[in-house]
């Protein structure tokens, strides 16, 4: 523990660790020192001069090193002639600070008056109005009237798009550089900077495309004025009109804590709709941040394609009829299966599994990445916290582009590496993590050699040593370039490595699967079997019950005459829904409650934010009603009761219930209404930080040898190897309803190395026809250096139905025609 220091702030004695900034020490004592440029997650800049306070330090006798005492026996204090900034000065023993003295108040008032000379004071129309630090601090510290002549006010552009998602109002900007520093320090991509100087300074973006970051929305949260606003919420509502509901982001497996702000809207026919998404503080998961996909990707929940009622044979029917028909279909089929996706809650998956067991049909999890069984056994366990990783620890990231697949994990891993954790990256190409995070080792391997990654890590003496000596080891694995079976083997090999290096079954240690869905881990925990290629099932089964997946839309399944009896349960009108015999309209997760289990095995609750859409029902209720028709009695009303059943049935969930999941712990920095100037508009966590499942690994370690299939495809001279990759902004059915993101999603494309492009005779921006196996698709060519030669990267869910690596040919689309 570091040395503790006692000081006096406004007459209150405070004891804090040495090195604490004065502004933090005061905040811990409940004293708000006003700040604009300071943010607890950023390095202090001392720019805005708002936190001016009077600081007295005890005079020290140079000879004895003891404080000089006055006649009353009190240490004599030495005050600098001028005010000092509380955000750059650290505490020292015996310091006496006045934050509200006449002189300090004068200084703070002066700063506010200066700031307001160039501020447009358009609070009535400003999106920040009502939750604006400048507004609040002006009321608390500013002068009642400005002495500045209104005609002298500087006028600047008010509607500057910094990229597709963020607008900059140059007049409102007070040049605190929080946004610049957030991007440069925390994310590691300096895409924003100042241009010009003095009063002409302004924020500009220096990246191409502009504001090229998936964390851009966070800058609007920490902006202390309304200078940065999101294109999504622009003039959407006044903050005080919004209601808040705690939730969990559904876009990836990180499980970021969020808040849905909702309001009744005339534009949406008087429905209550989601107006914006704000991060909800959880220092163990997402700090105060969320990625742009989570912030802007919620629009699918209010898409026009939402299913509002059940259907049978293409016509809307009553629930009774639909369920009856579905039950008959299942009862009469001899070969049947249930396939669910990781978008469903634990409660949904549990009821589905119960139904599948009851009908003695297999329950599959639809996933491109396998190995969840290993994560279940060797994943993180109760009490683990990625933010605890630092010096002496190691993080291994294998075959995953965290920035694109799980942005907040990218942020967490980068921060841990900044704190000194040894970051080891094994990936066939240069990812943003490699470019933007301080890493220790990079293992570059060719596509197709995935089976040897772990073996090669073991052979590299330095890496092996680092892994062995690490106090804690966390391994993230993805599936770049791999099919389901290969990624399963990789997971097994990773688990093996954890065991071998003595890290299995320990707190802060474990395996994390970078799943594409929010609750894939929940499905693994509840005993679902993985599946990705559904074609065989469609060819052999008599009835299929598909829940929350769209294999037809993904292009994996092709109609070839024979079609099993299809029961499709989903929230949107998808290609698969159009093929269905019975459609069961489920409500979106924002309209009900439930729990997700994140990739780090953290079970977290989400709460209803908006009313149910049309006549849709929660998935577990639909399954329960279907079960009732098939002679199975399932809980149909209460998600909480279902979770109790889960906790009773699965040891990992033992002892958990909704009340425990709703527990919170005190967190630093403080958030909430009074702390907007301090921490930004990230919301406080009052409704639960979740719990990591208990360890299964202890005592049950039976590592299996890796069973990687060796016949993987490798890039070869003269051929093109297509490899599917994950991109954050894809054209999946859950993201396309967010019109705002279309610019980020772009058109279907293939990414080639310049040399590969040259050999194929294509250049960037051209449209090509890709042919592989018996399929073909059109795509635009992008040329990027980081792609290995002879490889074409094809983003998943972008309209090119490539499910695994394949050999391909390229033609110019024009030439084809």
């Amino acid at each position: 523990m570091s040395k503790m220091v006692t000081l006096t702030i406004d007459g209150i004695k405070v004891t804090v660790p040495e090195g604490t900034l004065l502004v933090d020490a005061a905040r811990q004592a409940g004293i708000h020192i006003p700040v604009f440029c300071y943010h607890p997650k950023l390095e202090p800049a001392g720019m805005c001069r708002m936190c001016l306070v009077e600081i007295g330090r005890p005079m020290i006798d140079r000879n004895t090193g003891q404080p000089i005492l006055d006649e009353n026996g009190q240490p004599k204090l030495q005050f600098l002639g001028k005010l000092e900034t509380a955000c750059t000065n650290t505490v020292s023993e015996g310091m006496v600070v006045f934050t509200q003295s006449e002189k300090a108040r004068q200084g703070q008032k002066a700063t506010v008056e200066f700031l307001l000379t160039s501020h447009p004071l358009d609070c009535p129309i400003c999106d920040k109005g009502g939750e604006c630090p400048l507004q609040d601090l002006t009321m608390a510290y500013g002068p009642a009237q400005s002495r500045f002549e209104y005609e002298d006010k500087i006028h600047l552009a008010k509607h500057v798009p910094l990229g597709d998602l963020i607008y900059l109002d140059r007049e409102r900007c007070i040049l605190c550089s929080r946004c610049i520093r957030f991007q440069a320090e925390l994310v590691g991509e300096a895409v924003l900077t100042f241009d010009e100087r003095g009063r002409s300074s302004q924020i500009v973006t220096v990246s191409d495309p502009p504001f090229d970051s998936v964390f851009s929305g966070n800058t609007t949260d920490i902006c202390p004025v309304g200078a940065l606003t999101t294109a999504d919420f622009r003039f959407g509502a006044r903050p005080w009109e919004l209601k808040a509901a705690a939730s969990i982001c559904s876009q990836c497996a990180v499980g970021c804590n969020i808040v849905y702000n909702t309001r009744r809207e005339a534009r949406s026919d008087g429905r209550i709709v989601i107006k914006r998404v704000l991060p909800r503080q959880n220092e163990e998961v997402n700090d105060l941040w969320i990625c742009d996909k989570g912030r802007f990707g919620y629009h699918y929940t209010e898409s026009r394609a939402r299913l509002t009622a059940p259907r049978a044979e293409g016509r809307p029917v009553s629930w009774e009829q639909a369920l009856q028909k579905a039950a008959e279909g299942l009862r009469s089929a001899s070969q049947k299966a249930l396939i669910a996706s990781g978008r469903l809650s634990n409660e949904d998956l549990y009821t589905l599994k119960r139904l599948a067991d009851h009908l003695q049909m297999p329950a599959y999890l639809y996933t491109p990445i396998g190995g969840g069984e290993w994560v279940r056994r060797y994943g993180l366990s109760t009490g683990s916290d990625l933010s605890a990783l630092g010096k002496g620890d190691a993080i291994l990231v294998v075959a995953s582009d965290l920035y694109e697949e799980a942005p907040l994990w990218y942020l967490r891993v980068r921060q841990a590496a900044e704190r000194g954790a040894a970051l080891i990256i094994a990936h066939p190409r240069t990812t943003r993590l490699e470019r933007q995070a301080p890493h220790q080792y990079v293992l570059r391997y060719a596509y197709g050699d995935e089976g040897e990654i772990i073996e090669r890590l073991r052979r590299e003496a330095k890496i092996a040593q680092t892994l062995h000596e690490a106090r804690n080891l966390v391994i993230f694995f993805g599936n770049e370039g791999m099919g389901l079976e290969q990624s399963e083997s990789l997971a097994a090999a990773c688990a093996d490595l954890l065991v071998e290096t003595g890290h299995a079954g320990r707190i802060h240690n474990g395996l994390i699967g970078v799943w594409p869905h929010p609750n894939a881990q929940g499905a693994w925990e509840l005993g679902f079997q993985p599946i990705f290629d559904l074609q065989p099932l469609f060819e052999t089964m008599d009835a299929l019950y598909l829940v929350a997946l769209d294999p037809f839309g993904d292009g994996w399944v092709r109609q070839n005459g024979r079609k099993p009896f299809l029961i499709v349960q989903d929230i949107l009108e998808t290609a698969t829904v159009r093929q269905a015999d019975v459609v069961l309209a489920a409500c979106a997760y924002t309209e009900r409650e439930g729990t997700f289990t994140s990739g780090e095995r953290r079970v977290q609750r989400y709460y209803p934010a908006v009313p149910r859409y049309g006549d849709s029902r929660p998935d577990f209720a639909i399954t329960a009603a279907l079960g009732a028709k098939l002679g199975l009695n399932l809980e149909a009303q209460s998600a909480a009761r279902l979770f109790q059943e889960i906790a009773g049935a699965f040891p990992a969930f033992k002892g958990l219930d909704y009340a425990r999941l709703a527990e919170t712990r005190p967190q630093w920095p403080p958030t909430g209404r009074a702390d907007y100037p301090f921490s930004g508009t990230a919301q406080p966590n009052t409704q639960g930080m979740g719990k990591i499942l208990s360890a299964v690994a202890e005592g049950t370690m039976t590592p299996l040898p890796p069973t990687m299939q060796k016949e993987s495809l490798r890039p070869e001279e003269g051929t093109l190897l297509l490899v599917p990759i994950h991109r954050l902004f894809d054209a999946g059915s859950l993201l396309t309803p967010s019109a705002l993101l279309h610019g980020r999603i772009g058109a279907p494309h293939i990414i080639l190395h310049p040399k590969t492009a040259q050999e194929a005779g294509v250049t960037a921006g051209e449209k090509v026809l890709i042919e592989w196996e018996d399929r073909q698709a059109e795509a635009l060519v992008k040329v990027e250096e980081h792609v290995p030669v002879g490889v074409g990267l094809v983003p998943r869910s972008m309209g090119i139905p490539l499910s695994r690596a394949a050999r391909a040919r390229l033609h110019l689309a024009e030439r084809v025609r």
């Binding site: 358009d122 129309i125 534009r267």
Partner: protein
């Protein structure tokens, strides 16, 4: 006793000579006081642009929660108000309104004022909701109706210049 009757009748006869207090409403209407708070009016500028910028401060100030505002962004192609923002929806529920005038006080652009009209009657609840179209005053002579097509670069200020309340 006759005396008492006579005294009583005297008052009656005296009053017969006075001008009557009652008026023949609704044929006849009594003028209201200058600060009377009647039905709201949403005002326009001389050129026809709406004063309301959709800030919803009236709704925030309203003690009866009678006002609902939804805002949208102006463009030069389709301009409703001088600034960047205008009210795409503006509704007052007259059944809820208590005519306190707080909305008028809260308005930064003097867009909403309480007028003289007190003749509010409805036959159902839906009718009691006055929409923006009902509340907006007619386009003044020489002005254009909204939305207007305006030249770029003219209406760049977020909030149109406001008068100092002290002037």
């Amino acid at each position: 006793m006759l005396k008492e009757i006579g005294r009583g009748l005297m008052t009656t006869f005296k009053m017969m000579l006075e001008r009557p207090v009652t008026i023949q409403y609704p044929e006849q209407k009594r003028p209201v006081r200058t600060r009377y708070r009647g039905r709201h009016i949403l005002r326009r500028y001389e050129n026809g642009l709406e004063r309301c910028i959709g800030c919803a401060l009236c709704a925030a100030a309203c003690p009866a929660d009678a006002i609902f505002v939804e805002a949208a962004e102006n463009t030069d192609e389709e301009r409703y108000s001088p600034g960047e923002r205008y009210a795409s929806t503006y509704e007052i529920n007259m059944l809820r309104c208590i005519f306190c005038g707080f909305c008028e006080d809260a308005c930064p652009t003097e867009a909403i004022v309480l007028g003289d009209n007190y003749e509010l009657s409805f036959t159902d609840r839906a009718q009691a909701i006055y929409t923006k179209e009902m509340l907006l005053e007619p386009v003044p002579p020489g002005g254009q109706p909204t939305p207007q097509k305006t030249p770029p670069g003219v209406y760049t200020r977020a909030v149109p210049e406001m008068e100092d309340p002290k002037d």
